[in-house]
């Protein structure tokens, strides 16, 4: 799995890739990308043309085919972020840290999409854009928590500093979501009836509708993986830019001594020449 997204030179014979790519694409991502494109076309076809309107929700059900998979993937991304953060703190694995960062950003996108589609579904169905439903509220809090993680991860600092700070926050992401969810659920169910979603979708879903939803999961899942790979590689490249040229930097740093050293010696009382002197010799 490690070599799938990015590998060092010895990862695979370079004969298959004689020239380094000038983008974050590779054969895997191109295949995935093509599948995603075809998938989206099919998903549009199924959602709008082939599947019927729902008895309860009417045409608004067509939003569900992207809303439900986005929500699932948003939580998947959030879980990946926590997993990556744990493995970074535990094994010091940069690979996992970058996975955590990449999936947090993608999870933020999917969460935003989930919220937007949820509101646009709610308006025709419930008559309002927003209700303080347990799931909606939890998702909104998830978005805020993710934005906090990303804000910390993007603060300018040395890689290890940024990564460590972000990893501690990423580690707490899933526990926080669980506690938020628990509290919101109690809060809403103590005073009013359970979530409104439950009567929406699961009741009488069948045939083409079920297939459309399933297709939505597959297509958005493919898209998620495709994005994750690209975003991971972008993050990887960002750190590589930061990383390159350490040897050059050391050489440059040492070269400073040349000019300054001479100046220092000119004012200094010691004679120029080989400054070798064993520690013991200076001992009286």
């Amino acid at each position: 799995m490690t070599t799938q997204i990015a590998s060092t030179d010895e990862g695979r014979p370079s004969a298959s890739a004689p020239e380094a790519p000038t983008s974050t694409g590779s054969r895997t991502t191109r295949v995935l990308g093509l599948a995603t494109l075809v998938g989206f076309a099919l998903l549009v076809l199924f959602s709008f043309v082939l599947s019927p309107a729902d008895d309860n929700q009417g045409d608004a059900v067509r939003i569900m085919y992207i809303h439900v998979p986005s929500a699932t993937l948003a939580y998947t991304g959030c879980f990946l972020t926590t997993l990556g953060s744990i493995l970074y703190l535990w094994k010091r694995s940069q690979w996992w840290e970058l996975v955590a960062y990449a999936s947090a950003e993608i999870a933020a996108l999917f969460t935003a999409v989930t919220l937007a589609t949820g509101m646009l579904w709610g308006r025709p169905t419930w008559g309002v854009y927003w209700v303080w439903d347990a799931r909606l509220t939890t998702t909104a809090m998830l978005e805020l928590l993710l934005l906090g993680y990303l804000a910390v991860r993007r603060l300018p600092a040395e890689y290890s500093v940024r990564a460590k700070r972000a990893a501690v926050i990423g580690l707490l992401l899933v526990p926080n979501v669980i506690i938020v969810r628990q509290s919101v659920q109690w809060w809403r169910t103590l005073h009013q009836k359970p979530t409104l979603f439950s009567d929406g979708l699961d009741s009488n879903i069948e045939g083409l509708m079920l297939f459309s939803l399933f297709l939505g999961f597959v297509v958005l899942g493919l898209f998620f993986v495709w994005l994750l790979i690209h975003r991971f590689r972008v993050a990887w490249l960002e750190e590589q830019i930061a990383d390159t040229g350490l040897d050059a930097a050391i050489a440059e740093r040492r070269a400073e001594a040349g000019g300054v050293d001479a100046a220092g010696r000119a004012t200094g009382p010691s004679a120029p020449g080989a400054p070798t002197l064993a520690t013991g010799e200076a001992q009286p």
């Binding site: 809090m141 805020l144 109690w186």
Partner: protein, 222 residues
């Protein structure tokens, strides 16, 4: 670790005793918030009485945020992080010490705000065991999570803006839980409030563990 925690907490409380920032600035701010709520929500229509638990905890949250900012502002001085790392203090001890000091200040703040609510909003305080338990676990939650996120933001130029963004979503369960528990206590149905105390207890416990483990690495950065 406990000894180090007491040393650090003693230092923080002594610092507060000498500078009186919490007493002279944070507390008046908290009372001001209570007054502002009365301006915003017409006291004659009963909205204020109904919303009292929520308003109380929002006031605690915002003034607690100020107390936390202050707690890390004193550590943000030049070279202080180095001094702490060199001090020989256990990082977990430093964390617990700061939690204790912040918690002590929050408890004082909550007590005085409680008096303020009772007087200004003419709230009848009832259901004491639940009220006290709620105050204790909610304070523990705010102090433990706040101190952990405080050290993440400490030493950054953007700490004043970053800490609320990080902390307030995290503290949402504490706000919900403490408000519901207060409503239950004041409404005479304490049995509805105790699950919330448990939830906030779990929250505080989670953050104590995270803080004890995570404070060292976070202090180490740079």
């Amino acid at each position: 670790m406990i000894r180090d925690a007491l040393v650090v907490a003693g230092k923080d409380l002594r610092l507060e005793a000498r500078s009186r920032v919490a007493l002279n600035q944070v507390l008046p701010f908290a009372l001001l918030v209570l007054v502002l709520f009365a301006f915003a929500l017409d006291p004659d229509r009963g909205v204020l009485e109904e919303a009292t638990p929520g308003l109380y905890w929002v006031a605690v949250l915002f003034s607690g945020l100020l107390a936390l900012q202050r707690s890390f502002a004193v550590e943000a001085a030049d070279g202080n992080r180095d001094a702490l790392r060199l001090s020989g203090l256990d990082p977990a001890g430093i964390y617990l010490g700061k939690v204790l000091a912040v918690g002590a200040q929050l408890l004082l703040l909550e007590a005085l705000l409680g008096v303020g609510v009772a007087v200004l909003y003419t709230t009848e305080l009832d259901g004491w065991p639940l009220l006290l338990a709620t105050v204790v676990v909610a304070t523990a939650g705010i102090a433990t999570a706040g101190t952990l996120y405080g050290v993440v933001a400490a030493g950054l130029r953007v700490r004043e803006t970053l800490l609320p963004l990080l902390l307030l979503p995290v503290l949402a369960p504490v706000l919900i839980g403490s408000t519901r528990a207060f409503e239950a206590a004041l409404g005479g149905t304490p049995s509805e409030g105790w699950p919330w105390v448990g939830l906030m207890g779990v929250f505080a416990l989670l953050y104590v563990v995270a803080g004890v483990l995570g404070f060292g690495p976070l202090l180490e950065e740079a």
